[in-house]
C-alpha cells in the first residue's frame, strides 16, 4: 500500500459529506467485521483473567491519551499547513495588487501594457492554475507570464527622479510577488509524510483491536465500539481533508485573486 499523495487524489473528487460518511463507514465497518471475526479469537487470551475489562479499560485509556495527542498534533499540523499556504496566497495577491498600483503610475504606453500583463497573469491563476493545483499539478505557465511582465518592466527607462522612485518600488514589489508565488507553488503538493499516516492508521487499528478485548454483550460491543470507531473515522477524515492545501472542500480558494481581478477589470 502506498501513501504517495497522488495515489489518493481520487478521494478528493468525492463530495465532502460523502467522503466523511465513507471514512466513518470504513472505520465502523472494520470494527464490526472484526467484532464478528477477530473478537472471538482475541478474547481467548483474557477469557479467564479476573477483572479483564478493568485491565482492558486501563490499557485503552492510556493508549487513547497518547493516540489522541498524536491525532490532535497531526490535525493541528495539517491545519497550519493549509493556513500557511492560504497566507501565501493572500500575500501573493496583495503583492500583485500593490504592483498593479505601482505600474499604474507609469507613463503610457508602458503603464497600460504592464497593467494588462498583470491582469493576464491574474486571469491565468484563476482560470488555469487553480484547477491544476486542485489536481495536485504545479502550474507552469504562470512563470511565463511573470517573465513576460518582468521583461516589459525592465524595458522601461525612467526619465525623471519621480519615475525612478516608482520604478524601484515596482521592482521591489515584483520581487516580493515572485517570492510569494514560489511559496504558493511549493505548497501545492505539501502534505503529511507517509510515515505519519502509517503511525496514525496503525494506532487506529490497535485502538479498535483493544476494544475487541472487552467482555460484554455483543450488541453493546457493536454500539460502544462503533461510536469510538466512528469518531476515529471522523478525525482521520478531518486530517485527510486538510492534508492537501489546494484539494478537497477544506482547501484554499482563488478568492483573493478573483477579488483583485474584478477590481482590475473595473478600472
Amino acid at each position: 500500500m502506498s501513501f504517495a499523495p497522488q495515489d489518493w487524489f481520487w478521494l478528493y473528487d468525492i463530495p465532502t459529506q460523502q467522503l466523511a460518511l465513507g471514512f466513518v463507514a470504513v472505520f465502523v465497518g472494520f470494527y464490526w467485521v472484526g467484532s464478528i471475526l477477530v473478537r472471538p479469537i482475541l478474547r481467548q487470551f483474557i477469557r479467564h483473567t479476573a477483572g479483564a475489562n478493568d485491565i482492558v479499560g486501563y490499557v485503552l485509556s492510556c493508549f487513547c491519551v497518547f493516540y489522541g495527542l498524536l491525532l490532535g498534533l497531526i490535525a493541528v499540523t495539517a491545519y497550519q499547513n493549509v493556513s500557511g499556504a492560504g497566507e501565501n496566497v493572500t500575500r501573493e495577491a496583495a503583492a500583485l495588487s500593490a504592483l498593479y498600483e505601482d505600474v499604474s503610475r507609469y507613463p503610457e504606453p508602458h503603464g497600460q501594457n504592464l497593467r494588462w500583463l498583470l491582469r493576464d497573469y491574474t486571469r491565468y491563476v484563476i482560470k488555469y492554475a487553480w484547477p491544476l493545483q486542485r489536481r495536485g499539478i504545479i502550474p507552469e505557465e504562470g512563470t511565463i507570464r511573470a517573465e513576460a511582465f518582468h521583461e516589459k518592466l525592465l524595458d522601461f527607462q525612467p526619465q525623471s527622479p519621480a519615475q525612478e522612485i516608482v520604478h524601484a518600488e515596482a521592482l521591489r514589489q515584483f520581487n516580493n510577488f515572485l517570492e510569494y508565488r514560489r511559496m504558493r507553488l511549493l505548497s501545492v503538493n505539501s502534505s503529511l509524510p507517509a510515515s505519519m499516516w502509517y503511525v496514525m492508521i496503525l494506532g487506529a487499528v490497535l485502538n479498535i483491536a483493544i476494544c475487541w478485548l472487552f467482555d460484554m454483550r455483543f450488541i453493546t460491543q457493536l454500539v460502544l465500539g462503533g461510536i469510538l470507531a466512528a469518531y476515529l473515522g471522523t478525525m482521520m477524515f478531518l486530517i485527510f481533508d486538510m492534508n492537501q492545501p489546494f484539494r478537497g472542500d477544506v482547501s484554499i480558494t482563488p478568492e483573493a485573486f478573483q477579488t483583485l481581478y474584478r477590481r482590475m477589470d473595473e478600472e
Binding site: D7, W10, D13, I14, I36, I144
Partner: protein
C-alpha cells in the same frame, strides 16, 4: 439451558443466524449506499471524458511577444468557448502554451515537447523562420500546424493549414491600391523589412509585380529582427525620393521604425508607410503621434462595423479586459480554430489524415471579419483585402476593402512561374527554381 448445561447448538445457532443476517444486511446496505456514497468519484486517472491536448506555440517573451501574445489569448478564448459548449466530439480541449521566447530553435524544441505530450494539433508560429523550422517536426509526427499570420507564400505542406494572407491577397493589392487614385496615385515605393524570409520573399514578389508598372521600386532596406535603430533606414528612404513605403518589418522593431520616422518629421500625407505586419496590438506600444495617418493592409480591423464583429470584440474584451484589442491575425486565428473544429467533427476523429480528408469538403466559417473558406487544394483561406488608416486612438479607419474575399495563391505566377499546389491531387507541382535575392 437445561439444568445449567448448555445444549449444543441451542444458543449458538440463533447467534450465528443473527450474525449471518447482520452481515447480509450490512452488505445489502453497503450495496444500496455505495452509488450515493461514491457518486462523483473518479478513477484518479482523469475526468470521465478524456481531454484532448492541443498546443499553442506563441512567443510570450522576446521581440515577437508584442504580436504573438494576442494570438495565444484569442486561441484560449476560442477553446474556452468550445469547452463551455461541450468540447469537440464530447472531449474537452486541454490547451498547453509553452513559451518559445521568439527563438526559432526553441520553437522546434517546444513543438517536439507538445507533440510528445500528445498534442493532436498545434496552433502557432509568427515568423516564417519559426514556421519553416517547425514544419519538418510536424511532417515527421504527421500532425497539423495551424498558422494564422500573413506570410510570403512560396510554400506548401500537407501538414500545415495557412490562415493568413498570402501576397496575392495583401502585398499585390496593396501596391495596386497605392498606385490608384484612392491610394494617392503614388509613383515611387521604398521597401523596408526585417531581415528574414517573409520580407525578402514578399519584396521579391512586390518587385516582380511592379515591373513595367507606373509605381516604381526605388530602394530596399532590411534590418535584423528585433533591431530598433532605423535612423539610417529613414535617411535612405528620404534620399530615395520615395513617395510611399511598403513596410514588412515584424515585431517590436516597428517601434523603432515609427519612432525614427516621427523623429525625422515624416509627414504621412506625403510619405505614407503601408505596413503588412502592424495591427492594433502592435500599435499599443506606439505613441499616436508617431503612427497617426499611416496605413496598414490587412484582412481585418477591429473597427470593422458589423454586428458579428462588435459581438466578437465585446466577448474578447469581457474575458481579457476592457483595454484589449483585436486585429489581424487574431481574427484569422479564431477562424482557424473553428475550421479545425468543423473538420474534426466532420471526420468524427482527431486523427490527422481523417481531418485532412475533411478539408476536401471546402469548409466555411462565418468569421468576425466576414465569411472564410478553406481552400482544400492549397490549404489556405480566402481573405478580404482591407486598407486601414491609423487614427489617434490607435484604431483604424477602413478606407478601402475588396468587394469579395480573394482566393489564395501561394505561388503567384508573376514570381513563381510553373509552381502550383493541389493537395486533393498530386500535391506540389514544381517549376524552375527562383532566386528571391536575385535581379527581377
Amino acid at each position: 439451558m437445561e439444568n445449567g448445561v448448555r445444549l449444543v447448538g441451542e444458543a449458538v445457532m440463533p447467534r450465528r443466524r443473527a450474525l449471518a443476517g447482520g452481515a447480509a444486511a450490512t452488505l445489502a446496505a453497503a450495496r444500496l449506499l455505495a452509488p450515493a456514497l461514491f457518486v462523483g468519484c473518479t478513477s484518479g486517472i482523469g475526468p470521465r471524458s478524456r481531454t484532448v491536448p492541443v498546443g499553442l506555440l506563441h512567443s510570450q517573451t522576446g521581440p515577437l511577444a508584442i504580436s504573438a501574445t494576442g494570438l495565444r489569448d484569442i486561441e484560449l478564448h476560442a477553446f474556452e468557448r468550445i469547452n463551455e459548449a461541450g468540447g469537440i466530439l464530447g472531449h474537452p480541449i486541454e490547451v498547453r502554451a509553452p513559451d518559445p521566447r521568439s527563438r526559432p530553435d526553441l520553437f522546434v524544441k517546444r513543438a517536439r515537447q507538445l507533440l510528445d505530450a500528445g498534442a493532436v494539433a498545434l496552433f502557432g508560429c509568427w515568423t516564417s523562420l519559426a514556421r519553416k523550422a517547425v514544419l519538418p517536426v510536424m511532417e515527421e509526427a504527421r500532425r497539423l500546424l495551424f498558422y494564422s499570420v500573413q506570410y510570403e507564400g512560396n510554400e506548401s505542406s500537407p501538414y500545415c493549414v495557412y490562415g493568413g494572407m498570402v501576397p496575392n491577397q495583401q502585398i499585390v493589392p496593396a501596391l495596386d491600391w497605392l498606385a490608384s487614385k484612392d491610394g494617392g496615385g503614388r509613383r515611387k515605393v521604398f521597401l523596408v523589412g526585417s531581415d528574414y524570409v517573409f520580407p525578402r520573399t514578399a519584396n521579391f514578389i512586390a518587385r516582380k509585380h511592379l515591373a513595367g508598372k507606373e509605381l516604381k521600386h526605388v530602394g530596399t532596406a532590411y534590418v535584423p529582427l528585433g533591431d530598433r535603430d532605423f535612423s539610417a533606414v529613414v535617411k535612405r528612404i528620404r534620399e530615395s525620393g520615395a513617395d510611399c513605403v511598403l513596410n514588412t518589418v515584424n515585431g517590436d522593431s516597428n517601434l523603432g521604425l515609427f519612432s525614427a520616422l516621427a523623429d525625422a518629421k515624416v509627414d504621412p500625407a506625403k510619405l505614407p508607410v503601408v505596413s503588412t505586419s502592424i495591427a492594433e496590438d502592435e500599435l499599443r506600444g506606439l505613441l499616436p503621434r508617431q503612427v497617426q495617418g499611416h496605413y496598414a493592409v490587412s484582412c481585418y480591423f477591429q473597427s470593422l462595423d458589423t454586428a458579428a464583429n462588435r459581438e466578437w470584440v465585446a466577448g474578447f474584451r469581457r474575458e481579457f479586459g476592457f483595454d484589449r484589442v483585436t486585429g489581424d491575425p487574431m481574427e484569422p486565428d479564431w477562424c482557424l480554430v473553428h475550421l479545425w473544429k468543423q473538420a474534426v467533427e466532420r471526420a468524427g476523429t482527431f486523427e490527422t489524415e481523417a481531418v485532412r480528408q475533411a478539408f476536401r469538403a471546402g469548409l466555411e466559417f462565418a468569421g468576425p471579419g466576414g465569411p472564410v473558406r478553406l481552400d482544400p487544394q492549397t490549404q489556405h483561406t480566402s481573405k478580404f483585402f482591407r486598407v486601414g488608416r491609423i487614427r489617434a486612438d490607435r484604431q483604424f479607419d477602413i478606407v478601402h476593402a475588396s468587394p469579395a474575399p480573394l482566393d489564395p495563391d501561394p505561388y503567384p505566377e508573376v514570381a513563381f512561374p510553373g509552381w502550383s499546389v493541389d493537395w486533393t491531387k498530386e500535391g506540389v507541382t514544381r517549376g524552375p527554381e527562383v532566386d528571391i535575392d536575385g535581379p527581377v
